[in-house]
């Protein structure tokens, strides 16, 4: 005596060999499919191209707005350009400063000595020290 299940299985037991082969084929094919799926990253990124482009545009706008108020071209225009001063002018300025300081503290400056030396005197007081070069 058999149950219907036992009877049905017994009737088709001979097909198991073919079923084993089918099972192996499916597993092999599925393995190949899985490995192909892992290499489809490029397809995935390609499908997101419009999203990525949109996000890039948004980031560019944000960066532009961040730069605008503080470092924009308008602000740059208000900064005066640095003047180039020649060394002669600097030396003259320094010499003038030294002279003014000397006048304030009352000490004679070389220029003052020189100026005093060349003050015109009466002919009678003039010394004959003409030098021949």
């Amino acid at each position: 005596m058999k149950t219907p299940r036992e009877l049905l299985f017994e009737q088709h037991r001979a097909a198991e060999f073919k079923l084993d082969a089918i099972r192996r084929d499916v597993l092999r094919a599925d393995k190949g499919q899985t490995s192909r799926d892992s290499w489809s990253l490029r397809d995935f990124l390609w499908s997101l191209r419009w999203h990525l482009a949109g996000m890039s545009a948004i980031w560019l706008v944000i960066i532009f707005l961040q730069m605008g108020p503080s470092h924009g071209p308008g602000m740059m225009a208000t900064v005066p350009p640095v003047k180039r001063v020649s060394p002669q002018v600097v030396l003259a300025s320094l010499r003038e400063n030294r002279r003014q300081i000397a006048e304030m503290i009352g000490s004679p400056t070389p220029d003052a000595d020189k100026q005093r030396t060349f003050l015109p005197k009466p002919r009678s007081e003039r010394q004959e020290n003409t030098m021949m070069v």
Partner: protein
């Protein structure tokens, strides 16, 4: 009623994770029951093997659509059942699937292993099984082969539980009549 598969610990979660050994175990477990079910419906060996293969491929590709791991068996048979229906439709035999019974059926009165077949009745049993209309044959096979519950058979075949009860009742009645009529 619990189905045969519900008493087993099947590696469905491992299969979901892509474990090839788990898939091998699952396919090995269901290959013969699936083949029996399909063959007894389509009555063509090559077509049955093709449907088993397509069922396995679909299962591996769409395992994500299975919500409850414990229902793997009925889910797999559901795929196979749909494949059989597609084949029937191709053969323009759809009208046979539309057979419905209007009588209120009695409850599920016997378990599949309560119906025992003597050796001399085996050939007659198989012959009668093949003579049953496909809708009755389908529910009877699901009941015999995997001991699926009425709810599971309803889910697999896509008909109401009442219709499953009705089909099963009349299929069993026909079988019993044959076995009782034999001298």
């Amino acid at each position: 009623m619990l189905g045969v598969a519900e008493f087993e610990q099947l590696p469905v979660s491992q299969a979901r994770a892509g474990d090839a050994a788990a898939w091998d175990a699952l396919f090995r477990r269901y290959q013969l029951p699936l083949y029996v079910y399909i063959f007894e419906l389509v009555r063509d060996e090559q077509a049955s093997l093709d449907i088993v293969q397509e069922t396995f491929i679909n299962a591996a590709r769409h395992i994500g659509s299975l919500r409850d791991d414990h229902k793997f068996g009925s889910w797999l048979f559901g795929i196979a059942h749909q494949k059989c229906i597609q084949r029937w439709r191709k053969q323009a035999r759809e009208e046979m699937l539309r057979e419905e019974f209007n009588h209120a059926p009695p409850e599920f009165e016997t378990r599949p292993d309560e119906l025992l077949i003597r050796e001399e009745e085996e050939a007659e049993f198989m012959k009668l099984l093949n003579q049953l209309p496909p809708p009755q044959r389908s529910v009877l096979l699901l009941h015999f082969v995997e001991d699926f519950s009425l709810e599971e058979i309803s889910g697999i075949t896509g008909v109401s539980i009442g219709t499953v009860k009705s089909r099963l009742h009349y299929a069993k009645k026909s079988l019993r009549k044959l076995l009782e009529d034999k001298p």
